[in-house]
Symmetry: D2
Amino acid sequence: MIIPVMADDAKLRHLVDTVTARTGYTRGIGVRVLSVAAGRVQLAVDRRPDLLQFNGYFHGGVVSGLADHAAGGAVSTALPAGQVGVTVDLHVNFLAPADGDSLIATAEAIQVGKTISVAKVEVAAEKGGERRICAVATATLRAVNLG
Amino acid sequence: MIIPVMADDAKLRHLVDTVTARTGYTRGIGVRVLSVAAGRVQLAVDRRPDLLQFNGYFHGGVVSGLADHAAGGAVSTALPAGQVGVTVDLHVNFLAPADGDSLIATAEAIQVGKTISVAKVEVAAEKGGERRICAVATATLRAVNLG
Amino acid sequence: MIIPVMADDAKLRHLVDTVTARTGYTRGIGVRVLSVAAGRVQLAVDRRPDLLQFNGYFHGGVVSGLADHAAGGAVSTALPAGQVGVTVDLHVNFLAPADGDSLIATAEAIQVGKTISVAKVEVAAEKGGERRICAVATATLRAVNLG
Amino acid sequence: MIIPVMADDAKLRHLVDTVTARTGYTRGIGVRVLSVAAGRVQLAVDRRPDLLQFNGYFHGGVVSGLADHAAGGAVSTALPAGQVGVTVDLHVNFLAPADGDSLIATAEAIQVGKTISVAKVEVAAEKGGERRICAVATATLRAVNLG
């Protein structure tokens, strides 16, 4: 017997894994997919010298890029099959230094519409096993049909 | 004879060059400093597979990261010596595909205050010698004292 | 016997009530203070023809104004006595028509710092006893000393 | 002889005048239409006690509401006839106290698309004949068909 929800999540997981692996940028910064459900995605990226600000914290560009990709995942997994979300605008509030061994972004679609969807994202810095929110973001995305 | 404005700009240029070269992230994505004046900075980054979205355009994370760094440069060159701007929040509107051989971000400080400054940024994609605006951003920064 | 938390909340309630009543704008649109705690404020405004968009929903300006005031309350009640938060920037995502008899904004301070604080706000439209989120907002505020 | 551009602008002017007059909110705060062209609108609102913050400056809600309406006008006059722009998100940076006898918002459509458009807005406070920028805003709008 196949439990439908697990089947769906596996498909969604495959979608996010595939996009993350095929996208030069996310492969380049080493995005790891932690979990995927419809409308909810959690991603991580690990500390590396070329991802840091001069003060040793993760750079705002990495925080923003990870948040953007997570928002795209959250919305794309909530859209009908064959559609993905493309970011129209992204707003990031940097709340604390992104000081840690890895960044973890948790994105959730808070509205899914025919043309416009919105996701919110929390980004935490993990250090010595403890997570601290270092940024929150909101992204507006437009649904586009794939090939 | 030394022309004061040139002397100042040379110092500011040196500041932005140094920060850009010493910051792992900006060195990593290959940020080039095109021009620097008090409150105004122009930066570029060239196309590379690890900076792209799966569709072949520059990834939103790179657009955002370049805009963030440019905003920081525009504000830091407008602040009193010994202070730099740290981004508090960043809002990016993606207007068109970032389709080109390089991205060029032009940032301008539109308000410089004792605690808060604001910069606006235009990001253009250059392709075959033509530039097309692909994103605009607004960043709010906080002035912090250096070491 | 006086329970300290209640005493504090009563003071904070008084602060928000007073500012809301003395501010021409919030008195003008009829803001009601529903609840106040340190770092958390809930406000409402009731439907009136001069607060509506041409389609009969609450106007985005009212949604934004209520969110702004709620964010100010959430941050001001979390700051040390004698300081209030002044909005530096406000970002509002309109998720659904603000269709209802009243708007209810719930704001929470998610970061409180010496110079910069951040609040997030949810705005719901209440219609026939049911509440539906119609907007979310994020506000960045600067702490200023009163008088 | 009728000059086409004037004829078009007159139609656009009529559109913005009509929407402004029929909308409870904009009539309520007394929005005046200063100028209208395709993709560009300038509006004003005059100082009144019920539009002010407790410190005597225009309230952020009024600045935001005027910016929102101006952005809607700029995009709607740039869209094909029969379509108007509905705000999806609004980001306002408050740069200086909105201290003046009137607020003047100048909005310009910087991107007009089939589904998504973007407008930027400058809001100035006019005092004793002098104008000073007190806020900038960016709005993302969705095109909807009328009637």
